[in-house]
């Protein structure tokens, strides 16, 4: 591993590298400070007490947020990472503390979120003895981490953490876990100045960009009659929003997004034709099977995006830009693979593509949009029925925030509504659990998102089911005073599952009828202001009141019980078979 020394006070000439005797716990926290960490989310316990003891002296540089459950801690770290573009950090004790991180690790792994998780572990001499609160967290987390490592000696700590941060944030980002035995936290050693890691010999964060592929891709794009861009979170992770916009603007190609890519190009951009996938927009799905050149950028052709693969874009030639070589040809065969970091490849491609417009082709998307508005969107956003819809809540919210808020959505019907209808003026404005679909993600992730973007309003949109999975994090909100607005879209059902049961299982509503507490009273118990709305006449003012409220606010909106999310590509169907009703 080659390393790069952080700016240090000028060393005396010819002196040996200076070392200072410190404990492993202090070395751990010094590493975090040196990596630029300002906020960590955690929960203490026996095997991590030495680190917590040292943390006492690291206030306020390392703001520690005490969560109510380690799953909440890791989701908060994810929210922080996603809204800020920095590495999220979570801390947990051994055994149950560590296993409570697993869902968040799996979520971060599949959504490429950079995290460093630090777990305490029993003393090294007790490993393998079934000691109190011992669990083999390294082996448990191997499939859901980009890298993990167990430290048994204090001397290993600085280098292990330097590697951890480098691996988490470089290349295709991902979660990393460092497990530190208690003796290593307590041991005193002579610590050299902390060095950041910038290279690991066996690790290639990004493949080398191949000029010939860029040229082939450009030629293909320039010859296309009906080119179509699909973009994903890779654009956001590569911090290449500007480069992407320049590519779209110059090539004049209609572009659609996966739910994790949303906002990389503003929802109001004239070439942004909408959302892909199972509940995406009508035009992008249908026309995927009519385009002649498909340009996929930082997306991985998830099955929720492609529907039936053997009927997916078979007519198209495919250009795939991705930093991760394992994604190329994984699901969809590429004509031209453009490996590399899109921050690097996009400008090269933009330079070679012709400035064009595709008015007739773009008009096709707009025709489908008009059809979708008539069949679905108008009634969803401006309902004529008496009962409130989820869509109108989003519509009213958009009108008030103008698309400036960070939206954090949970999983289910309300998530699809939030993804479909929330206006997004800028990147990193929608945090949601995409690949794993983790119910319970939103409330803690919203807390983290606010710490990561303290100057932006953060609005969590959660279902009545999902909110009860991590509702204890209201305690974290209470104690930290973090300003998170919470909207519960209460349809009194596990709505997304109910929709499937209605459409595909003869309305046999098997265990989707979920009862809820009085959420406003629960919030009051946590000293969080709240209101419940079931009348259209009150919705607008309630939303305004919520957004103007100093501090957190919980707004429960009673929405119609049995609405379905449309359009929909039913499972096993091709994207062209998308249903409007």
């Amino acid at each position: 591993m080659s390393t790069q020394t952080l700016a240090q006070p000028a060393a005396s000439p010819a002196a040996a590298p200076e070392t200072t005797p410190i404990t492993g716990a202090v070395a751990t926290l010094q590493a975090l400070v040196a990596e630029g960490v300002d906020t960590i989310f955690g929960y203490p316990g026996g095997a991590i007490i030495p680190i917590y003891d040292a943390l006492y002296d690291f206030q306020p540089e390392l703001n520690h947020v005490l969560v109510r459950h380690e799953q909440g801690g890791i989701h908060a770290a994810q929210g922080y990472a996603r809204s800020s573009g920095r590495v999220g950090v979570a801390l947990a004790t051994s055994g149950p503390g560590a296993t409570n991180l697993v869902t968040g690790l799996a979520d971060a792994m599949i959504d490429s979120t950079p995290l460093v998780c630090i777990t305490g572990q029993v003393f090294a001499h007790l490993l393998g003895t079934d000691a109190f609160q011992e669990t083999d967290i390294i082996n448990i987390t191997t499939p859901v981490t980009k890298w993990n490592y167990q430290v048994t000696r204090a001397e290993e700590i600085p280098e292990a953490l330097a590697k951890a941060f480098y691996i988490a944030r470089s290349g295709r980002p991902g979660p990393v876990l460092v497990d530190i035995t208690k003796n290593a936290q307590m041991q005193t050693f002579d610590a050299p100045a902390y060095e950041r890691c910038t290279h690991i010999r066996s690790y290639r964060p990004a493949p080398v960009v191949r000029k010939e592929y860029i040229e082939q891709a450009a030629a293909l794009i320039n010859s296309a009659k009906r080119p179509f861009i699909l973009w994903g979170q890779g654009v956001v992770l590569g911090k290449a929003e500007q480069e992407f916009k320049e590519f779209v603007d110059k090539s004049g190609i209609p572009a659609a997004w996966t739910i994790l890519g949303v906002g990389a190009l503003a929802t109001g951009h004239p070439l942004n034709v909408g959302m892909l996938g199972m509940h995406g927009n009508y035009g992008p799905n249908v026309l995927t099977n009519e385009c002649d050149v498909l340009i996929a950028i930082g997306m991985r052709f998830d099955d929720r995006v492609t529907g039936r693969l053997d009927k997916y874009a078979k007519q198209a030639q495919v250009v795939h830009l991705d930093i991760d070589p394992t994604e190329i040809d994984k699901n969809v065969k590429t004509t031209v693979p453009v490996w590399g970091d899109c921050k690097e490849t996009l400008p090269l491609l933009t330079a070679l593509v012709e400035r064009k417009e595709h008015p007739e082709w773009l008009a096709r998307f707009n025709e489908y949009t008009a059809e979708e508005v008539d069949a679905v969107i108008r009634e969803e956003l401006f309902p004529t029925s008496e009962e409130l819809t989820m869509g109108e809540v989003l519509q009213q919210l958009n009108e008030i925030t103008g698309g400036e808020a960070v939206i954090v959505s949970d999983v289910g019907q309300h998530q699809m509504v939030a993804c479909r209808y929330a206006l997004q003026n800028q990147s990193r404005s929608h945090v949601t659990s995409g690949g794993l679909g983790t119910m319970g993600f939103a409330l803690p992730a919203a807390i983290g998102a606010k710490f990561g973007a303290p100057h932006r309003p953060v609005v969590a949109i959660i279902g009545d089911g999902g909110v009860q999975m991590t509702i204890q994090e209201l305690g974290t909100i209470m104690q930290t005073g973090v300003d998170v607005k919470i909207i519960i879209l209460n349809n009194q059902f596990l709505g997304m599952v109910r929709q499937w049961q209605e459409l595909f299982h003869q309305r046999r509503y098997s265990f989707v009828d979920i009862q809820s507490p009085d959420f406003v009273t629960v919030a009051a118990g946590y000293r969080i202001a709240g209101q419940r709305v079931d009348d259209r006449a009150e919705l607008r003012s309630a939303l305004e009141k919520m957004l103007a409220h100093p501090g957190s606010f919980l707004l429960e909106v009673m929405v119609t019980k049995e609405n379905n999310i449309f359009p929909m590509v039913p499972q096993g169907c091709s994207v062209a078979e998308i249903r409007l009703r």
Binding site: H125, I138, R153, S202, Y203, P325
Partner: protein, 196 residues
């Protein structure tokens, strides 16, 4: 696409836990590993995995990429049997008195290219190397003569088209020498260490 035996060769760092990280790439897809050999390569600090599975090329290619993606993996190749020279080694333990008495056995061993590794009064251990059928044949042949124990190694394979591998590895190690493996040095200190 046709399923056939593939030989996956991976060069890796020598790290605790890496075997599991590689093994789960197969088990996650419910693919059975037919044979697995892990041993130090000719370069100190770099290990070589030889993995045999039966799959289509399309699947093997994806697996190979997934393995190479792991932080501590340097390089991965995959080859059909036709592209490698491969061997398995086998050891056979037989009662010495039978061998001594029966001339037939001696001929059998000679025909199978077996070599005596240990000869004791009570038993003799023979060794052969070869393809599976070859090592299998000798089992069948020795069974009537009181075969006591048998063991076969995993497959090792050398790639026919591996021009300059060794030089490349040497050069790689010269530029950036490997790090030492950190192991748990406390396992035998149970009595001395303070616990909470």
């Amino acid at each position: 696409m046709e399923r056939q035996e593939y030989n996956i060769t991976a060069y890796t760092e020598n790290q605790v836990g890496l075997l599991n990280r590689i093994a789960i790439i197969f088990s996650r897809r419910k693919i059975n590993i037919e044979s697995l050999n892990v041993s130090p390569s000719e370069i100190e600090g770099i290990h070589r995995f030889n993995i045999v599975i039966v799959e289509t090329e399309e699947v093997v290619e994806k697996l190979a990429k997934q393995i190479e993606k792991q932080v501590e993996v340097l390089k991965v190749y995959y080859n059909t049997n036709a592209d490698v020279i491969w061997q398995e080694m086998a050891l056979y333990k037989v009662p010495t008195d039978v061998i001594a008495e029966k001339v037939l056995v001696e001929r059998l061993l000679r025909e199978n290219g077996a070599r005596a590794v240990v000869i004791r009064k009570d038993y003799t251990v023979f060794e052969t190397t070869g393809h599976r059928e070859e090592t299998d044949n000798l089992i069948k042949a020795l069974q009537p003569y009181g075969l006591i124990e048998f063991v076969r190694s995993a497959r090792i394979a050398i790639i026919k088209a591996s021009e300059g591998f060794h030089r490349k590895l040497q050069e790689f190690e010269r530029r950036e020498p490997s790090e030492e493996v950190a192991e748990n040095e406390f396992l035998n200190d149970r009595e001395q260490v303070f616990t909470m």
